[in-house]
């Protein structure tokens, strides 16, 4: 199953490579990984998406918790949560396709953020599924480039990841 694991890391040099190294050394897979500082400059927040059986996910969270730089960890998928990812995509658009793609962008509540005679750059935010669906939908237009931020997420309501 797909899991979104979010953690607070000591903002130390090398902390990220400890997390990444753990995954490669133990053969766990990472689908995406994002990391950035928080409002507390001594802490970074790292979100990663991984998948595996319950046993593997249990090992992953135990092993992550064992890393000295990991302050706290939450498996967002264990409760209700909000998941977001951002997509920037550049597509070739000519002739009738210009209108067609614009309509799609509206349906997906995206935005066209750059326009030339031959191309659009589109920005879209949502769950990974939604981004996948959009990429499929615009597939007809020629995709020149895609860039995705990787997933970040936050638990709903009372549940919070804080020290």
């Amino acid at each position: 199953m797909r899991h979104i694991i979010s953690m607070l890391l000591e903002n130390e040099a090398g902390a990220l490579s400890r997390v990444a190294g753990l995954f490669s050394a133990r053969g766990y897979n990472i689908e995406s990984l994002t990391v950035a500082p928080t409002e507390d400059p001594t802490l970074s927040r790292l979100t990663l998406v991984t998948s595996g059986s319950d046993d593997i996910i249990e090992q992953i969270t135990k092993q992550l918790n064992k890393l000295v730089d990991v302050v706290k960890l939450l498996d967002l998928t264990e409760g209700t949560h909000i998941e977001r990812e951002m997509l920037l995509i550049k597509v070739t658009v000519e002739g009738p396709m210009r209108e067609e793609v614009k309509r799609l962008v509206d349906i997906f509540r995206g935005r066209i953020v750059d326009v030339t005679e031959a191309s659009y750059v589109i920005e879209l935010t949502g769950t990974s599924d939604k981004l996948d669906a959009f990429i499929q939908a615009v597939g007809g237009a020629g995709i020149l480039e895609t860039v995705r931020s990787g997933v970040s997420g936050i638990a709903r309501g009372e549940r919070s990841l804080r020290v």
Binding site: S17, R18, Q59, K62, V163
Partner: protein
């Protein structure tokens, strides 16, 4: 008064109560060596190869429970320690490794003798640090010792750039550490302990299975009391030997790949398994799908990630072994329920039947020296009271099978990583820590050559280690596998061109003895053990065809052991000459 980083480092070691450090100098560490020169509280032991420093510190740590300290220079100095660090990591041994690094201004420039020490060691340390500012040095050293020695212990490396050792600041050693991201457990969940006790008391065919965690957690006394109160059988892993006395009849021998028949059969048939400080390693479980098929499992471990990693567990208890075992004793003594003595008697009867097979028996009439015989005699003549280190191979398994350890921290071997070359330097650390004790290094002619240079260190510091070399002119364990699984194609496992070990020992200033007949074994051991103040290298020329039994072949179940020695076809020295 402001001190240099180098002086601060040495003061930290003094304040930490460090008695010995094992090291080797070089450019990036020279300020530190200069600071060491100016004092005499912390004694530096100069090894002959940095791998030896790490193993020696490890031997010191394993035999005392105190952290072992290593000091090396940057680049090749620190890369040479990596095998030793990984060895300590796999067996959860507390080490603090201090490595010199090029100056902060040069880091990342491919400077002379620069390596990314923190990067190279990351997968085999509990934690590591790069100190970039002298003002962080003392606090980092404090943290390093704290992390290395608490929770599940392990090696911690501190990489210190040369300019940091020259810069000055005020020295103050922190009295305590608290880290929001590192809070090792100490106790154990009372509710879980209660559930475990209920299950343990309800068992009909119970079994204790304990490992190195009992020794690391100083829980031998509690374990011994608990097992005796209950009267249950116990087996121990290679790393756990000595935690419970081997001469107590409740001990049924080591388990696993080369464990006893009775231990593995009892594991296979038990209905309640009480695992303490053991990690269900593949050398113990064999095929996990066939492991303890009837057992409900209690697992006590300080490291949550060890629990249910390989084998699902019914009652996990995350906690310090000593605390949990003592709590169990209290509850059992207070409980109205008592073990089912009748069921237990039947269970012991079964076990005694398995025991009758005498699975460790060997040919005592042989005209050649049997390695098992040497170890039996060594046990007898040292009255079971020696510290025994070993290398890796058949000799290691025979030492584990035939030397009956009654006390913890006496049996010192590389179980997790299986590092040949560990035995001699580890023995140095043990002997430094216990100058009056008898320290024996059981080794093979292949393993001993991996760190043989340390014979020179032994001379310099007058370490009267007794080296018991079981010389079969083969990498015996490799040869055994080739005999069993590769149709006797002995590919590159014959040890050709061996040195004359007696002369070699003598050239280092030690004594050497070569023993070729079974009748001479006892006298040679007596002679060596009498020499309290010098190293004796005993070169026993043993039977080349001997194999380690019983054996569970990888992928087989616990009850599928090879027992009967088959007649080996092993080319002898003469045929190979």
């Amino acid at each position: 008064m402001e001190l240099t980083g180098a002086d601060i480092l040495v003061r930290c070691l003094q304040d930490e109560g460090v008695e010995y450090i094992f090291g080797y100098p070089g450019g990036a560490a020279l300020h530190i060596y200069d600071a060491l020169y100016k004092q005499d509280k912390v004694k530096h032991i100069l090894v002959r190869h940095e791998q030896g420093a790490a193993h020696a510190a490890d031997g010191y740590a394993r035999s005392t429970g105190r952290p072992g300290v290593v000091l090396v220079t940057s680049g090749p100095g620190v890369t040479n320690t990596v095998t030793g660090i990984a060895t300590a990591y796999m067996d959860s041994s507390p080490l603090v490794i201090l490595s010199g690094q090029v100056a902060t201004s040069l880091i990342g420039n491919d400077a002379f003798q620069e390596v990314d020490a923190v990067g190279i060691t990351r997968p085999c340390v509990k934690h590591n640090f790069l100190v970039k500012d002298v003002r962080d040095l003392a606090a980092t050293i404090k943290k390093a010792f704290y992390i290395a020695t608490t929770g599940r212990p392990g090696p911690v490396l501190v990489d210190i750039p040369k300019d940091v050792t020259a810069h000055k600041t005020e020295y103050e050693y922190p009295k305590s550490v608290s880290m929001r991201s590192y809070n090792p457990v100490t106790k154990g969940h009372p509710g879980q302990i209660k559930r475990a006790v209920d299950l343990i008391l309800a068992a009909k065919q119970p079994m204790f299975y304990t490992g190195g965690g009992v020794i690391l957690g100083e829980a031998s006394a509690a374990l011994t009391e608990l097992v005796r109160v209950l009267g249950y059988p116990i087996t121990q892993t290679l790393m756990g030997l000595g935690a419970f006395p081997a001469t107590d009849p409740r001990f049924v021998g080591m388990l696993g790949m080369h464990g006893t028949y009775e231990a593995n059969m009892a594991m296979h048939e038990c209905d309640v398994l009480i695992a303490v400080g053991a990690r269900f390693d593949d050398r113990v479980t064999g095929d996990v799908s066939k492991f303890c098929p009837n057992a409900r499992i209690v697992h006590v471990d300080i490291d949550p990630s060890s629990i249910s990693k390989n084998v699902p567990v019914e009652i996990p208890i995350v906690g310090a072994a000593g605390f949990v075992l003592e709590e169990m004793i209290k509850q059992i003594k207070a409980s109205k329920k008592q073990p089912d003595r009748e069921a237990l008697a039947g269970w012991w009867k079964k076990i005694d039947e398995w025991r009758k097979l005498n699975c460790l028996d060997y040919d005592r009439e042989s005209q050649l020296i049997k390695p098992q015989f040497v170890l039996e005699k060594l046990y007898e003549l040292t009255a079971g009271d020696a510290y025994v280190t070993s290398d890796v191979g058949q000799h290691q398994m025979w030492a584990a099978q035939f030397y009956k350890f009654d006390r913890p921290r006496r049996w010192i071997n590389s179980g997790g990583l299986g590092t040949m070359g560990f035995g001699l330097p580890a023995a140095m650390g043990v002997q430094m820590a216990h100058p009056e004790a008898t320290v024996c290094c059981v080794t093979g002619e292949a393993s001993i050559q991996m760190c043989i240079q340390e014979l020179s260190t032994c001379k310099q510091y007058d370490l009267p280690i007794k080296i018991v070399n079981l010389n079969n002119r083969y990498m015996g364990m490799v040869r055994q596998w080739q005999e069993f699984f590769y149709d006797r194609r002995y590919s590159h496992s014959y040890m050709d061109a061996l040195p004359d070990f007696v002369k070699l020992a003598e050239s280092y200033g030690h004594a050497g003895l070569k023993i070729e007949k079974p009748g001479d074994v006892e006298a040679a051991l007596r002679e060596a053990l009498k020499q309290k103040d010098r190293l004796v290298f005993l070169d026993f020329i043993t039977d080349q065809t001997e194999n380690v039994y019983p054996m569970i072949v990888a992928g087989k179940g616990q009850n599928e052991m090879h027992l009967k020695p088959c007649k080996a076809v092993v080319p002898t020295d003469r045929e190979l000459a």
